[in-house]
Amino acid sequence: MQNTIQHTDIYAIALHHRFQWEEAQQCYVILFPEGMVKLNGGAGEVLKLVDGQRSVGEVVASLQATFPDVPDIEKDILAMFDLALGKAWLRKLN
């Protein structure tokens, strides 16, 4: 982990970035000047919940409820936050 991520942190998609579902690719994408990234299923599920309202803890709880059979999902979710912060896809609101 490069970044310290707390359960109380609230994030939003970074300025000048856009997150959207792509019908033609059947995946979520993140778009920004000069680039784009197609997100895999898990990454898309996490970023879908990053809306500037929910805290990291709420995102974790929500996904644990949606995917009760995935072991240790919290670790994967925090790793995804870490990656997204490292790529500057997110901005911290609090």
């Binding site: 000048h16 959207q20 033609a24 690719q25 994408v29 778009l31 920004f32 000047p33 000069e34 784009m36």
Partner: protein
Amino acid sequence: MAQQNNGVAANVTHTQPLWLLAEVTYRCPLHCAFCYNPTDYDKHTQNELSTEQWIQALRDARKLGALQLGISGGEPLLRDDIEDIVVEAKKLGYYSNLITSGVGLTEKRIQAFKEGGLDHIQLSMHDITEEINNFITNTRTFELKKKVAAMIKNHGYPMVLNVVIHRYNIGHIKEILEMAEALGADYVELANTQYYGWSLVNRSQLMPSKEQIDHAEKITNEFRAKVGNKMKIFFVVPDYFAERPKKCMNGWGEVFMIVTANGDVLPCHSARVLPNMQFPNVRDKGLEWAWKDSPAFNKYRGDSWMKAPCRTCPEKDNDLAGCRCQAFLLTGDAESADPVCSLSPNHHIIEKAIEDAKNPQLQAQPIVFRTDKNSKKIIAGELQERVADFHALP
């Protein structure tokens, strides 16, 4: 991976044109010596697509999977319907980018772009000195560009600067980056000149030496370490100085599609230089046919068209034999290996260019600026000695 059929039969491609570049006009108030536009662009200034045709093209490309839209030219702001195109792009879910010299960007227009949902504006800058800016563009645009940069920032847009690098400004890389930082740039692309179109005609004037490139890259790396994530800096290494060719456009007909001012649909910026190719036009069978089925888009998909040494090269998937246009322009054979590759039998052409760049004063010829007049001359067959210099005979 696309199937390959040498453009003979209908093909099945699973690729998507993620990037759509709309070159909405070839008209331009600037006359940059390094412009990659075709030298015969003047043929295509009278038959531009209408607003309705552009909107249809945007819709069709979006259905094919296009996501990133570049609105470019020439100078796109010479058209008065960019506002309409922007609104449609937003409605369709594109991430849209206006690629401009800044000439023609007014408060009123940028306001309309913002309201219409344009995502960002990429502004070209040329140097820190007024002299070189005005010389290389053959216009007095230095002060205007600084004003436009401020306008872009004031409207809450990310500041994306594109600086084409050549022998006249490569010595100012540090100062250019400092200027970008002072303007509040979020992204800076230092685009070393690649040699197509006007820049190929002017290569002996524009091409820096290997030492200059290495030095510029070193300064860029130091600056990047200093500013960190605050300003993203891209240094695009010119492929003449690389050991292996670039995977041009990430593969022919793989992710990139250009619609030109007159509606021709191309897999890369300069594909029209290739001989014996019939490129599709949006006025004919539409974009879906152009992308999936046209012989031109299928011609260099896959690898079965390759010749030796590429055909059996263990590295062929890395670069797909490089750039077809560069292969043709420098060797006369579009299917040969890109001569940038040290394994190409024609690599000596690149080595000579690099050698010549060490002694520019011996090689330099007067600059042929990108003007309607010069384009007309080239179409009429004048200036052939300049063009022929680089076209090895087949």
